[in-house]
Symmetry: C2
Subunit: 430 residues, 2 copies
């Protein structure tokens, strides 16, 4: 029987929205947002979309009108009652009322600020300007929208059976990966794939596949909407934008050198346990750890997001030992460019020596490599970063020069201040 | 929105019927049925199910109660008005009113006769006894029911994602085959996969994939219900049961030797054009052609259903040349154990020399090899044959001794009468 009402209802959509909820975003954005709302509410920032994969000419693939429709739709969203109830009532990292009433009240009334969209050399220049706690919430929706519009642009060219077989192949691939991961004893792995997912529905399918296939080894998803919908743990801690903005606001080199620790001091005060995770690579892991105060060594763990993950983890282990900490009690979260092969390798090398855990991103939720003609659905490296704070440019060095950003002069200054020398360049896949 | 009515409706099914229509059968069964209805309506025959794959212990896999429910459901079916309209009004092989009014009237009132079901050594013994035109219509439903109940028995043990991925893999495999076939210039291929399909819905999907992927190279399906539903050509001509039963009825060796030609004489009178297709292997292709009357050499083509297809086709080509016929004007239909590899080879060897065409069966509609644990969904060799006529046993020799059937003494007699010597044994895959 045909459900006429459903069909009419579906035809009533003016657009098929990619982002249908303000919490279709990464959990750590909300945690950071609350922290910023509390500590730096008036900081003016600019976030900007950067496509590191120049060969993917987004402005030629994606129609500007459709992009604007999707972005405008996000601006029409506000937190629903059910979403607010979930954030207020749910337990995150074993803690109740992770989100304080004053923040929730502000968030319930929030609409995302305007965007500025321009085209240049086949790319979109998409920027967001305004108060940090508002603008920063654009990052994930902006990325997810462009990723999915690019997918849709390619999928439009395919017939019914090509599509059916495309997803058949993609499902087979994800499930084969899950079957391999299943064989790793004591694995802990989470979905970090929101920002560069093939599509929302596809991420949701991948998360269900992980749930069904991995059981307890699957510890949650960074996507709040999916965590709420599928009754899973929402996971994530903090990101580069915190030290980057704090550093940009520094008046002197001395303040700059202290900025990355200052921001973590706020975090230290706000969070404990598994939320105390160091992200050390913003201005070079080695130097960051060398100059770190002892209270940081007491934190629960570290997240490794650039450079060679194995050597970065070894550096962390040595550091903990030097500071009289027991690495076996420490959490090491790998979250950069993961796929089954390196997950297996890293787990083999570090399981038992530390509490290893994995935040699996793009190659979980967007591994369409080789599945479409001309590899036109392969994931690409799109980021949305804070590029300035109160008018001053931000800088990121990371442990991989290919991931560095900021004006050359500032990059040089940061390298001097943080004592970063030669770095090994590694290709950025996703 | 949930379509409550649909859900309730679906829950109202007492069983999920495998066969939902009397024309969910091969077109050639209906053609032969009409011919038998006209020429041998009173012949009493016994059809019997034979599982050549002894390792597949059907009686242990398939519940007897479920099997009886499915068989009983077939007995409750009668031709619907729409089906009757299609058979009466449609054009088959370019001819209107292929089915004569007297036959249609009989068919519209037909219910299938009773069955006898017993278990022995882990197998089902399923037999049908009665008037030839009625009993012969059990063949395809009986096979399709047992094949699908076996599939269901295995699928019941699998979880949601295993199932999703199973079909994802199977779809990918079929579509990859279609993509390869697409590259063969001038290919003509039809679906002959009803009897040993994985399931009805799966055959229907495979037929749609062939339609979508091959265009004009896909010339139709042997399944009348799917042909009607998908607006495709229904194809097929005649089968071994005709010479087998006619031979069994022969009183003397002389009559026996003539039986295979006698039955085709009836066919010659009833049909012309592309329906005049010789099936020469029932008692050995070589001898059959050698002793064939010249009017048979005038027929449109030949169907090769056992033995080595390439050498059988060469035999036919030489035979036509000896009889002064032009092989390039003749149709050669390959229908035994086909898959993409041998379709490619046979087409390369015979395209241009004859009008080559392919009836693709089990490895189109049931290639689940290697897709389930223990290869428990691999197709197997199940047949349902006329084993006796008016109390006398039937015999089949074919060009492959592995496909021979009948009592040893009778087989020996037939070999003598038809001058069949040593035969090369070939493994029967499906």
């Amino acid at each position: 029987m045909v459900d006429i009402a459903s069909r009419v209802h579906n035809h009533n959509w003016k657009i098929d929205p990619i982002i249908r909820s303000l919490i279709d975003t990464d959990f750590y954005k909300l945690l950071m947002c609350q922290s910023i709302f509390r500590n730096r509410p008036d900081t003016r920032v600019t976030f900007s979309l950067i496509n590191r994969s120049k060969d993917v000419r987004l402005a030629e693939l994606v129609d500007e009108g459709e992009l604007r429709e999707q972005l405008d739709h996000v601006r029409s969203l506000s937190l629903t009652r059910g979403e607010s109830t979930w954030m207020r009532g749910n337990t995150f990292y074993g803690k109740r009322q992770m989100f304080r009433p004053d923040f929730m009240e502000w968030f319930e009334n929030l609409r995302l600020p305007p965007y500025v969209l321009e085209k240049r050399d086949g790319q979109y220049e998409l920027t967001f300007e305004g108060a940090w706690p508002e603008v920063m919430l654009w990052e994930i929706p902006a990325l997810a929208i462009l990723m999915e519009l690019r997918s849709r642009a390619v999928l439009q060219t395919m017939g019914k059976f090509e599509l059916e077989v495309l997803y058949a192949r993609a499902m087979t691939r994800v499930w084969d990966k899950v079957q391999r991961l299943r064989k790793i004893p004591g694995l802990k792995i989470a979905d970090f794939g929101t920002r560069r997912r093939h599509s929302f529905l596809w991420q949701d399918w991948c998360v269900q596949a992980m749930t069904e296939g991995l059981g307890d080894a699957f510890i949650g998803t960074s996507n709040c909407r999916i965590a709420m919908r599928r009754d899973l743990e929402a996971v994530g801690t903090n990101a580069h934008e915190l030290p980057m903005v704090f550093a940009a606001l520094a008046e002197t080199d001395e303040e700059l050198a202290q900025a990355p620790y200052k921001v973590l001091a706020d975090w230290h005060e706000e969070h404990d346990g598994n939320l105390r995770i160091i992200l050390p690579d913003t201005y070079g892991t080695e130097g960051f750890l060398k100059r770190a105060p002892d209270w940081l060594a007491g934190w629960t763990g570290i997240r490794i997001d650039s450079g060679d993950p194995a050597s970065a983890a070894e550096v962390a282990i040595r550091w903990w030992q030097e500071r009289g900490e027991d690495p076996r009690q420490k959490l090491v979260i790998f979250s950069d460019g993961l796929d089954v092969e390196n997950i297996e390798e890293l787990h083999a090398q570090f399981a038992g020596r530390v509490k290893a855990s994995f935040g699996w991103g793009t190659l979980l939720t967007n591994d369409f490599r080789g599945l479409a003609p001309g590899d036109s659905l392969a994931p690409f490296s799109l980021v949305c970063k804070a590029v300035s704070a109160n008018g001053k440019p931000t800088v990121k060095l990371s442990d991989n020069p290919m991931k560095a950003m900021g004006p050359a002069a500032e990059v040089a200054r940061y390298k001097r201040v943080f004592g970063v020398g030669e770095q090994a360049a590694m290709e950025v896949v996703v």
